[in-house]
């Protein structure tokens, strides 16, 4: 055994020898790369290495006819590497930038502090004006440690569609921390399309390593650009918006508060989306100006211009909701074309409440839509909720609510714009809370049938309801981008058909007949009829407990093979037929014919100023 051990003990020499051999190989290798091979040396010692970010060109956005909605303009930031500023003409720089020496020192200090560093570049002055940039560029050799960083800011050829486009701003600290793509000072989409398509629009930024000499001049790419990464441009977006229609709609809505949403029913493409009052999107593109504009618009609590009414303002649909009731009731078999209900300027079973207007007595189904009879739809609502097949009216109400939700209200539509609201269809639990369990009947809440009370929709949902009727039973989720990038990619979720709870064509035909009647003699929107286009519409008046009622009009055209559906809501404008219906039909003319034939109506609308001091209510009623 000892023999074996002593034999094995020799192995220590092999092991030790092996270790030493490996170390010698490593040291020879080190000797080679550190002392002999030149390819690892950085040029001359006095040269500094500078990293600059190459920002990707943000994607352009086009309208449905190929017109540019937004593009970019170059802009320059003045950057600093504090450690390299020895020998910089400080006073000269302060004079050009119009800042004091104290301000200069303050900024230097900030550039040295975390997360910045004296060795690394950070922004000294954002978005230089063209003049300042020109002067600085000439004298840059005097300002050691400073250089330019090329950026781009958004530019809108026409001051339209501000809410749709959204805006681009500096990334928040929290976001920069969470998402490794962003560094502080980077730009990011903050709202609208800029936000929801940020990833496609932004592209991919690149990095360049440059060598600079003692005169602060770039003398070349480090290692011939071996470590640089190229920026990849953002993807263009092809939107479904019709810039002309959008602009015309915004003109019509001038001096009014409200929203317009137009959709192509056969695709779900949004043709225009207007929230009024609006603002010039160019006022939010550059940092300093943006702060001023924001301060001004935040202060405007009466008009709330930053608020996108089309997606987030929840309004009672008013009489326009009768369309959904009529469809559900037919589907349930509780009414048909010949069902007749009396009207005595109000709903008889509840002593004339809700009230109705004078329209020549009782009506049958088609007529009830054309004249918008409140009594008729109080009966219809009661018929649906109290149907015999539901032993309990609570089950009947739940059935009504479920059917309504298949038309969109009560859930977010899932469009490609951020922040849309779901609207509200009150739940059984809600009424149990308000009236107590068993403390309510169908007649207690009968005003739901005429689109009042707690029922609310956002204008986008209203337009979608009309799209369902125009399509006779289905819709595509409304979206405003129809193609991302050159390949025009469209998210498959926007190609998917969604079906409403009512599917029989003839039920839709009857409702559409009534809507056609609204623009015929005796109808609620007769004054807004078009000579050569058959428009089917429905007026509504959204009750407003805080002031004058809101005017609503929903319509599609033409009757056969509909090309456009529009929802228009004008706040504090009273009856829907007076203000909303003419706006809608003007837009339809513009879209379908390219021009309008009714200058006197156009003039009346454009010159009207309906903004008074009422306060907008934006709270959810959940």
């Amino acid at each position: 055994m000892s023999n074996v051990n002593s034999h094995l003990a020799d192995r220590k020499y092999f092991i030790g020898g092996f270790f030493i051999l490996v170390v010698i190989i490593y040291i020879v290798r080190l000797f080679y790369i550190q002392l002999i091979d030149d390819q690892y040396k950085i040029g001359a010692d006095k040269n500094a290495l500078r990293r600059t970010t190459e920002y990707a060109v943000r994607g352009y956005i086009f309208d449905r006819k190929g017109k540019i909605l937004v593009y970019n303009e170059p802009s320059y930031d003045l950057m600093i590497v504090p450690r390299e500023t020895k020998g910089c003409d400080t006073l000269g720089l302060c004079a050009i930038l119009e800042i004091t020496k104290e301000e200069y020192l303050k900024r230097i200090k900030k550039a040295c502090q975390h997360p910045n560093s004296a060795r690394k570049e950070s922004i000294f002055e954002k978005q230089l004006s063209k003049e300042t940039y020109a002067i600085l560029q000439e004298k840059l050799f005097r300002f050691k440690g400073f250089f330019f960083q090329k950026r781009a800011i958004r530019k809108y050829p026409k001051p339209i569609a501000a809410h749709l486009m959204g805006y681009v701003g500096e990334v928040s600290k929290e976001k920069a921390k969470k998402d490794p793509y962003y560094r502080e000072g980077d730009y990011i989409g903050k709202s609208g399309i800029e936000l929801s398509y940020e990833e496609a629009l932004r592209g991919q930024k690149g990095v360049q390593y440059q060598i600079t000499d003692v005169n602060n001049k770039t003398v070349g790419r480090y290692m011939k650009g071996k470590y640089d990464t190229l920026a990849i441009s953002g993807k263009p977006l092809y939107s479904s918006i019709d810039a002309e229609l959008q602009e015309y709609g915004e003109k019509l809505m001038r001096g009014k508060k409200g929203a317009i949403v137009a959709i192509e029913p056969s695709t779900g493409e949004i043709l225009c989306l207007i929230s009024s009052p609006t603002y010039d999107p160019n006022s939010l593109v550059s940092g300093k100006e943006r702060n001023k504009s924001f301060a001004r618009m935040y202060a405007d609590t009466i008009n709330v211009p930053l608020f996108n009414r089309a997606l987030t303002a929840m309004y009672p649909p008013g009489s326009t909701f009768k369309l959904i009731d009529a469809l559900i009731a037919q589907n349930d078999g509780v009414i048909n074309r010949s069902t007749f209900y009396p009207c005595q300027m109000g709903y008889p079973p509840m002593g004339g409440k809700p009230k109705c207007h004078s329209h020549g007595g009782g009506k049958s189904l088609v007529g009830s839509i054309a004249v918008s009879c409140n009594s008729y739809y109080s009966y219809v609502f009661r018929d649906i909720v109290d149907q015999r097949k539901y032993p309990n009216f609570v089950d009947g109400y739940t059935h009504w609510r479920d059917m309504v939700k298949t038309f969109g209200p009560g859930t977010r539509l899932g469009t490609d714009l951020p922040y849309d609201k779901p609207g509200n269809v009150p739940s059984v639990e809600y009424y149990n809370k308000v009236f107590g369990k068993g403390g309510w009947r169908s007649n207690t809440i009968v005003s739901l049938g005429i689109g009042q009370a707690e029922l609310t929709l956002v204008p986008l949902q209203m337009a979608n309801v009309v799209a369902i009727i125009a399509n006779k039973g289905f819709y595509y989720t409304p979206h405003c981008i129809k193609g991302v990038g050159k390949e025009k990619y469209l998210d498959p979720k926007f190609k998917e058909k969604h079906y409403a709870g009512v599917q029989k064509q003839e039920y839709y035909d009857i409702v559409i007949e009534g809507m056609e009647g609204a623009l015929q003699p005796g109808g609620t929107a007769f004054a807004s009829r078009l000579k050569d286009i058959v428009v089917c519409g429905k007026t509504g008046t959204a009750q407003n407990p805080h002031g004058k009622d809101h005017a609503v009009f929903l319509a599609f055209a033409p009757k056969e093979n509909p090309k456009i559906v529009i929802a228009c809501l004008v706040e504090n404008a009273g009856f829907g037929g007076v203000w909303s219906a003419p706006i809608v039909t003007l837009l339809m003319e513009k879209y379908l014919k390219g021009k309008t034939d009714r200058p006197e109506i156009e003039k009346r609308i454009m010159e009207a100023n309906l903004i008074n001091g009422s306060i907008l209510i934006t709270d959810d009623i959940d």
């Binding site: 055994m1 074996v4 094995l8 003990a9 192995r11 220590k12 092991i15 030790g16 270790f19 030493i20 490996v22 170390v23 190989i25 490593y26 040291i27 290798r29 080190l30 000797f31 790369i33 550190q34 002392l35 091979d37 390819q39 690892y40 040396k41 950085i42 290495l49 990293r51 040295c112 502090q113 975390h114 910045n116 560093s117 004296a118 060795r119 690394k120 071996k226 470590y227 990464t229």
Partner: protein, 435 residues
Amino acid sequence: MQSRGQNSLFYGVDRLTILLYVIMVLFGWLNIYAAVYNEAHSNIFDMTQKYGKQLLWMAGAAVIAFSVLLIDADFFTAFAYVFYGVMIVANILVRLVGREIKGSHSWFEIGDFRLQPAEFIKFSMALALAKFLSNQQIAINTQFRLRWRDLVKNYKNTFIALAIILIPLVLVKKLQDETGLALVFIAFFIVLYREGLSVGVLMIGMLVAILFVVALVVANTMSVLISLGVLALLSFLIIPRNGKNLLMVGLVFVMAAGVVLGSNYVYKKLEPHQKDRIDVLLGNKKDLKGVGYNVDQSKKAIGSGGFFGKGYLQGTQTKYDFVPEQETDFIFCTVGEEWGFFGSTIVIFLELFLILRVIFLSERQRSSFSRIYGYGVASILFFHLAVNIGMTIGLMPVIGIPLPFFSYGGSSLWSFTILLFIFIKLDANRLLILR
């Protein structure tokens, strides 16, 4: 007098080893400070920065070192298997309750600090292997004999020893996907060699490895097979042509061909990122943006150091964050850039000196347990040294394992401290062992 000396904490400890340890840990910290240096946080006690945290880890390491020296040396012998068992359980547990970092569940988290139990398998495996091998009459087979009926009898102990090594390896790789840590256990083959593993087995292993690499470099399986065939024919011309030799040459050829084909198969089964690492190392692929980027940046940082380096805190490559993970696995870049060839050589010599010192001390042990454990320590340290520095200078594939006593990180510092100080304690105890 003797009893007073024996009671002293430092009785019999090898001061030179401890001195080397302290020098390396302190120099390591200086380099961590340089690697993450930031003007805004230059206070060395800033706990939001890694150098601040490393100070805490170092204080903990000191406590651990003293504790190990206080414990009776027999304790480590007696509880060797228990340590081994506990560490295996901890490593299974971490898969279930551990925190996921970079895709692998291998960390326990306490507040801002994290521990990786896989690091601590190292010393427990060294203990378990030492206990197992020291218990045997003849540790493992000392002869290379391919007689099948003797195989089980002769190689039983070899197989158990292999199992002790391979179980944690598979565990760490499969459960936690820590390839680097798993590969460390290969180092124990050096221990097996010292304790008698036959040269034949080691040679076969090496031949397989060489063929494997050749097959991958040449990339053309057919040409390798043909040249192997030519080689077999040539050898046949040189050696006496009899039936036995013919059989032997044929057998070797078939085995070699098997390895070549096998290497191709294994390579195809590798994950893309593993393939990349091998390809970049072998020069099959120039990929400067991906895996090759790390190595290239690392070589450049080291290469730009020259003879005396750029000076402390003056490195530009490391300051511009060119080098990834420069305070952990790539800490040697900071050494190379700021201290130059001079400093790099000193660091490598410090490590080598410590390893050779441990081997020297191992050989003077009377107890085979202490000797085997000592070889375990030396082998692990050497494997880390060779792979870590080899990786930064482009001689080894990028395998994420730390440089002992230099890299940032509590788990590795503590694990190396325990590993080394148990040996120091065993060594201090050698004079008390009468056997």
